[in-house]
Amino acid sequence: MQLLNVSNLSKTYGTGPIRVEALKNASFTMRKSEFAAIVGESGSGKTTLLNLIGALDTPTSGHIYLNDQELFSMPEQERTIFRRRNIGFIFQSFQLIPELTVEQNIIFPLLLDYQKPDPEKVNELLEVLGLTERRSHLPSQLSGGQQQRTAIGRALIHSPMLILADEPTGNLDSKSSQEVMELLTHAAHHYRQTVLMITHNLGLTAYADRVLRVSDGNLTDLGGNHDEKLS
């Protein structure tokens, strides 16, 4: 079942001589519970693509349909709420709210939606994330891996249709990276969530069902589990 449909997406920055085409007519689709990785060199346009899909940025042209809803036809306020409810973000530098505990950070999207979190679900998630013992700790009291697991919890708590991860292991050691990747795979397969992850680490594409490559703003679909091809 198709969840995400990216159609002829382009993004251009600047005008005249400083005009940069960050993304050129990118089109692809993703189905539900699919785990895709985006690879590419620095400045190739992968983050631009992720930002557009996450409705953090607006495209110059093209469309993005998430669960058949066109993201950029909605007004800003509606788009924010849509993003809050349907898209989970995981950033390289974690981006946790420093004033909130682990548990509060995880339930943050629900609180923004004025929803009462289900304690059982929160406990289960904390358990899965291995953060039960750390639930009352502030981000400053956590290791990098724990912070990123908290960020994953925040992305999972409201069961979004799509999880966007921008180099989630970029700031982590290999052990923590492995834990994070397992959690993301778990999310895709166990919770049936669609995951789109940017990574520089080609080794991590092994966790993905499918690999996309962005090069000079052009998107190429490399298909599923193409470790060999990529290397």
């Binding site: 983050t47 930002n51 996450g54 953090l56 940025d57 800003e76 306020q77 924010t80 709420i81 993003r83 809050r84 409810r85 973000f89 950033f91 530098s93 981006q95 946790l96 709210i97 420093p98 004033e99 909130l100 505990t101 509060q104 943050f108 999207p109 609180l111 923004l112 939606d113 004025y114 009352s136 502030l138 981000p139 400053s140 925040r154 700031n171």
Partner: protein, 783 residues
């Protein structure tokens, strides 16, 4: 680039917008200090000139001093001028007259003219005993010229032929009383005294002393007091002048010094807090930049130097701007004051430059900025190089307690947490909010002082008055009726007087000045809130009730106390703060109803008939009133002085309320700026929140919660500090002088709290707009 410090102007050029707010804060702090101090300086200079013009440029007067002691005093190096002086018939109650006009006779030495700043417009100082100086207006009144003879009639029935040797400036008291002032040389004065009072003794003269410019007058007075063993009664001081020069030991003036000192400190603190919080926010916004500098090899000391020099770089523009703005404002205010009241502010320089004000502004600007830069400089120097690498803006490490999301919505909890989590910042912000309230309330106390000190608008102030020539109750009701019917007379009201009525107050015997109030005057006392205590309704009831008048220098009568007078017993029904009659030493002023006065004295007429005129009354109308009153009365036309007083009141109001407005505007600006800078400093934190789904509305609510926390805490602290301070200032400025009891300034408090809350609410609008435009992706990926 010659050194790393060359980065400062380059950075400033690129981040003009970011620096603008800090620059504006310094400009405002310098403006506030320069304008307030400069205006106070101008006011003091003007008042000093006015006081010298009115009371003379003498500092002390000594009674009963021997010739020998006077000679020793005159030789003192700190005495610049001295002279003997006395006056006969100062109160114009004795029968001295020149050309049919009442006259006062002064005995002076030539040096007294310079001490009194009395200029001769024509002629010279008398060279013989029989020469005299008259005021300029005498020329028209008496029709005399230089060298003419005039006849001074004395109470003993004799007369004295005098030759006019000069004319001097007109005297305000003489003009108001329609009298002639004659200045005789000392020998002529003593001769006149001996002749009139048939004594071989000379009149007791008073020795006036003017000290040199740069001496410590207070110490000199103390020294003279000790050297000549002078009593309190012997030594008089020109309190007004000494007060303005800062040398008075009068308790009221000392109180005013204290008030000025407190206001000075408040303005200074406001300036420092404003600049400090602005610079703190500016540094907080640039943590990563300083981290980068550290990363590239800058030492903490270099960072400190960078921040301090950057602050001084701002001063280069901000201080001249602030000073210029203040100077122009002062010129405008001085011009307005002179225009509104030429009598009170005629001496005020229009384009005057106040060096103390400018110096205060510059030093406050520099010191404040350097002091304010210390803390942010240290903070900047502490920024770890890692900050530049990983982008964690140094905030995470400082948080120790999580936000309370169970009690509030998430955005409110985060807003409150943002306000509270950095104690130093919270304290700084709360204090600066509170200081706005404290500053406003403190300056507001001076408006109460103004309402008491400059009172042209008292309900009973007449435009013209008719006074019985012999101070008896000779003005009858028929005259009152006729006057009431005259064109231009809006209102007429009379008072009957019984002077020096022997009375026993408590165990003490002292005379009473009893005068009557009609119903209108009693109503005014009630409407104008002059009743300090007691019950005015008793005044219209049967029985001998009277109102006493508060006098700071005497022990007040108590409500219910009975005063036994020769006319009958009077029960005190209330105490008034104001009445139209000035206090007389050792005499109690008592006010009774017309009925009580008539019953006690048997007098049916009035001593004074006061009239208030309609706006379009002409001079012809006033002349008609004067003609109707006849020759046997004293006529006083106060329209001009009323107009000037009214002008003075409005001018002073303009000055004080102008400053209150400036304080309110600066408060608004400061609050808006602080919140805006605080939001800008957190902008990097807001990016992820927006990414995760915080809407613009929620973001605005979060900011409102943060701003509201500062505002509420600031209001509480402001009230807690401002109200006691307002009480203290009110006590020194008003209660100590006029006895008016303290009342909580609900209106002013309500207004400033409302301003603080409204400004705090408005302050979130700009950051709200900023967050709408926020490029979330840029913020997130720059970290």
């Amino acid at each position: 680039m010659k050194s790393y410090l060359s980065l400062i102007p380059a950075y400033g050029r690129v981040h003009k917008k970011q620096n603008r707010m800090t620059l504006l804060c310094i400009v405002l702090a310098v403006f506030l200090v320069t304008a307030i101090f400069g205006m106070a300086d101008m006011e003091i200079r003007s008042q000093k000139l006015q006081t010298v013009k009115r009371y003379g440029n003498w500092h002390i007067q000594i009674h009963n001093l021997s010739e020998a002691d006077a000679a020793i005093l005159a030789e003192r190096p700190d005495v610049s001028a001295s002279s003997w002086y006395n006056v006969i018939n100062y109160r114009l109650k004795e029968n001295y007259s020149i050309g049919g006009k009442r006259a006062a006779v002064c005995g002076i030495e030539a040096s007294m003219l310079s001490i009194m700043k009395y200029e001769l417009t024509e002629g010279t100082f008398p060279e013989t005993d029989r020469q005299v100086i008259l005021t300029n207006s005498s020329k028209a009144v008496l029709g005399v010229q230089l060298g003419d003879s005039i006849t001074l009639s004395t109470p003993d029935g004799n007369s004295l032929e005098l030759t006019v040797s000069g004319f001097g400036m007109d005297n305000e008291i003489a003009a108001k009383s329609d009298a002639i002032i004659a200045f005789l040389p000392l020998a002529g004065f003593q001769s006149l005294y001996r002749q009139v009072y048939q004594t071989a003794e000379d009149a007791d003269m008073v020795y006036y002393i003017q000290f040199s410019d740069h001496c410590n007058i207070r110490r000199a007075i103390q020294d003279i007091r000790e050297q000549f063993d002078l009593t309190e009664e012997q030594l008089g001081q020109n309190t007004a002048l000494l007060g303005l020069m800062g040398f008075s030991d009068d308790s009221f003036i000392t109180g005013l010094y204290l008030v000025a000192g407190i206001l000075f400190l408040l303005v200074l603190t406001a300036g420092i807090l404003m600049v400090t919080s602005s610079m703190n926010s500016s540094i907080a916004q640039r943590t990563q930049f300083f981290g980068l500098l550290r990363c590239l090899g800058a030492s903490p000391k270099q960072i400190r130097r960078f921040v301090c020099l950057e602050a001084l770089n701002w001063c280069k523009t901000a201080i001249p701007l602030g000073v210029l703005l203040a100077v122009v404002t002062i010129w405008g205010l001085c011009g307005a004051l002179r225009y509104l009241s030429s009598m009170y502010f005629s001496e005020m320089p229009v384009l005057g430059i106040s060096l103390p004000g400018i110096l205060a502004g510059i030093s406050v600007g520099l010191i404040t900025v350097l002091l304010a830069a210390r803390s942010p400089a240290k903070r900047a120097a502490r920024v770890s190089p890692v900050t530049a690498v990983n982008g964690s803006a140094g905030v995470i490490q400082e948080i120790r307690k999580a936000a309370n999301t169970s009690a509030f919505h998430i955005e409110t909890a985060l807003g409150v947490q943002h306000a509270l989590h950095r104690k130093k910042n919270f304290l700084l912000m709360t204090c600066s909010f509170a200081l706005s309230i404290v500053l406003f309330l403190s300056f507001y106390a001076t408006t109460a002082f103004m309402h008491h000190a400059i009172t042209p608008l008292r309900p009973y102030t007449p435009d013209v008055s008719i006074v019985s020539a012999d101070s008896s109750c000779s003005l009858d009701a028929e005259l009152m009726t006729k006057l009431a019917a005259c064109p231009g007379v809006k209102r007429i009201y009379g008072r009957a007087f019984a002077y020096d009525v022997p009375a026993k107050i408590g165990d003490e015997e002292r005379p009473v000045m009893l005068f009557s109030y009609d119903l209108q005057q009693l109503n005014w006392a009630e409407e104008a809130d002059y009743l300090l205590e007691g019950d005015l309704s008793k005044m219209t009831q049967e029985g001998n009730y009277a109102l006493a008048v508060h006098d700071a220098e005497k022990q007040s009568l108590a409500v219910g106390e009975v005063v036994h007078t020769d006319l009958g017993d009077l029960t005190i029904a209330g105490i008034l703060s104001h009445c139209p009659i000035d206090g007389v030493q050792d005499t109690e002023r008592l006010i009774c109803s017309e009925n009580t006065f008539r019953r006690l004295t048997g007098e049916l007429g009035y001593t004074v008939l006061d009239m208030q005129l309609t706006r379009n009354t002409t001079d012809e109308d006033v002349n008609r009133i004067r003609a109707l009153a006849g020759d046997g009365v004293l006529f006083s036309d106060q329209r001009l002085s009323n107009q000037d007083n009214r002008g003075a009141f409005w001018a002073f109001s303009l000055f004080l309320y102008g400053f209150l407005t400036v304080i309110v505007l600066i408060t608004c600006f400061h609050i808006v700026n602080s919140i805006s800078m605080s939001a800008s400093a957190r902008m990097r934190q807001y990016g992820p929140m927006r990414a995760v789904g915080m809407s613009c509305g929620q973001f605005t609510k979060m900011l409102a919660a943060e701003s509201g926390t500062y505002a509420c805490c600031g209001c509480i602290l402001g009230c807690a500090l401002g109200l006691p301070l307002h009480y203290l200032l009110y006590h020194y400025l008003v209660t100590a002088r006029w006895g008016t009891p303290y009342e909580l300034p609900f209106q002013a408090l309500g207004l400033i709290v409302l301003v603080v809350l409204a400004a705090s609410a408005a302050a979130v609008l700009r950051p709200g707009r900023q967050i709408r435009k926020l490029d979330i992706t840029e913020v997130i990926h720059s970290q």
